[in-house]
Subunit: 213 residues, 2 copies
DNA sequence: AAACGTCTAGTCAAGGTTGATTAGACGCGC
DNA sequence: GCGCGTCTAATCAACCTTGACTAGACGTTT
């Protein structure tokens, strides 16, 4: 009966994939260490509350959970000016997990939040890897559109008419996403953005020169 | 400080709007009374696990919560054949709340799950009401596209380049949705679907002839 | 200089979500 | 007539999300 029990688990201790987790890990990493409020501000300036629907409350939870899972380290800092704060830094496992989350988010269809978060963290990947993941997404979307087309030819008679008509909307979204993914793949191939293996990326910048707030 | 404390609360005891709640209330109502497994099967046959991302576990919780809030009544039934079951029936408050949820889900932008669930429960509204809500949605989407266009002219310099480029994808989704909403409005005007005030709708069918499993 | 709003920084309880698990009934091949 | 898989029906603990709330510091208005 428990044939599939393990299957869905990823690199770390398990638990649901979450856009919050990815974004929090990503910002901490990009900042080369950050406290909660800093992550919160950075995400806000990226407009993440709207496209990933992240509320401040979730950020602190995600940070603590990631620290408990060994993906981040916690350093308590006495408040020299203002309240106390806790500094978080990414561990090696945290970096690996984050990269896997980005790759998965790009490759797999479904879940808009995860896709948005993955795109936001795209430069965590090398250029060739990113292109490969996006291309796999393109292939998946094309396959899904074929399935959807078949489904509309032979609709499920149990579902009411207006529910069946909803499929048009989903197909429209899938086509939009397909076009966008194709154009992203092309932009990447043409050298757009600074990826992990490009000069000037977060990876090639020495620690003391990384972004600070 | 608590100026807005009440504002977000709806008709009932409060709490977050949820696609699960709407679908569960809707199925119970449409079935003229149902137990958990029946709701689960019906949603499955509508393909709801995929488009509303509802897992069985959530359904039972939603039923109990709705019963605790007075939106449903619970009738324990001894298992004449098979395990025990609990029969749920919609109350008047449950019906009112559900209709409000559908209207809100149609009118307000954001949250794909809620929109999908609302469309699935569209025939809960009268035809004129449904058209009005969809038209308001059309207007909102058009306004949003204008805002997005302005945003792309004057992008936020704090966000990285690839995050700013993501806006193209959102705009594409918004345009897809806009076109679909317009066509839905048109179909409704032309008399498509059986709405709450049409002959043959769930509302005009006497209780004993309602769908049973 | 007391009052006021605002920014920094974070906690918390209440509630929602979910994968795993339980358990009886039922058909069916051997 | 016994084991096996499948269907019905639901429970539960672990985990995630969130709105509301706390609290110090700082500028600035009155």
């Amino acid at each position: 009966m428990e044939r599939f029990a393990i299957e869905t688990r990823g690199l770390s201790g398990g638990g649901r994939v979450s856009a919050t987790k990815l974004l929090v890990l990503g910002i901490v990493h990009l900042s080369g260490g950050a406290h909660g409020y800093q992550v919160r501000s950075e995400l806000q300036s990226w407009g993440a509350e709207s496209w990933a629907k992240i509320k401040p409350g979730s950020i602190y939870h995600a940070l603590k959970k990631a620290a408990a899972d060994g993906l981040l380290t916690e350093h308590a800092e006495p408040g020299n000016s203002g309240p106390e704060r806790v500094l978080y830094r990414a561990t090696a496992r945290g970096r690996d997990e984050m990269v896997e989350l980005v790759r998965d988010g790009l490759r797999r269809t479904n879940d808009a939040d995860m896709l948005n978060a993955s795109i936001a963290m795209l430069p965590m990947l090398t250029r060739t890897d990113a292109i490969a993941q996006v291309n796999e997404r393109v292939a998946r979307l094309e396959a899904e559109l074929v399935v959807q087309a078949k489904w509309r030819e032979h609709p499920n008679r149990d579902a009411p008419e207006h529910v069946r008509d909803q499929a048009e909307l989903w197909a429209g979204h899938a086509r939009t996403e397909l076009e966008w993914a194709k154009s992203l793949s092309k932009r990447l191939s043409e050298g757009a953005y600074t990826m992990a293996d490009d000069p000037g990326s977060w990876r090639t910048v020495p620690d003391h020169r990384k972004m600070r707030v």
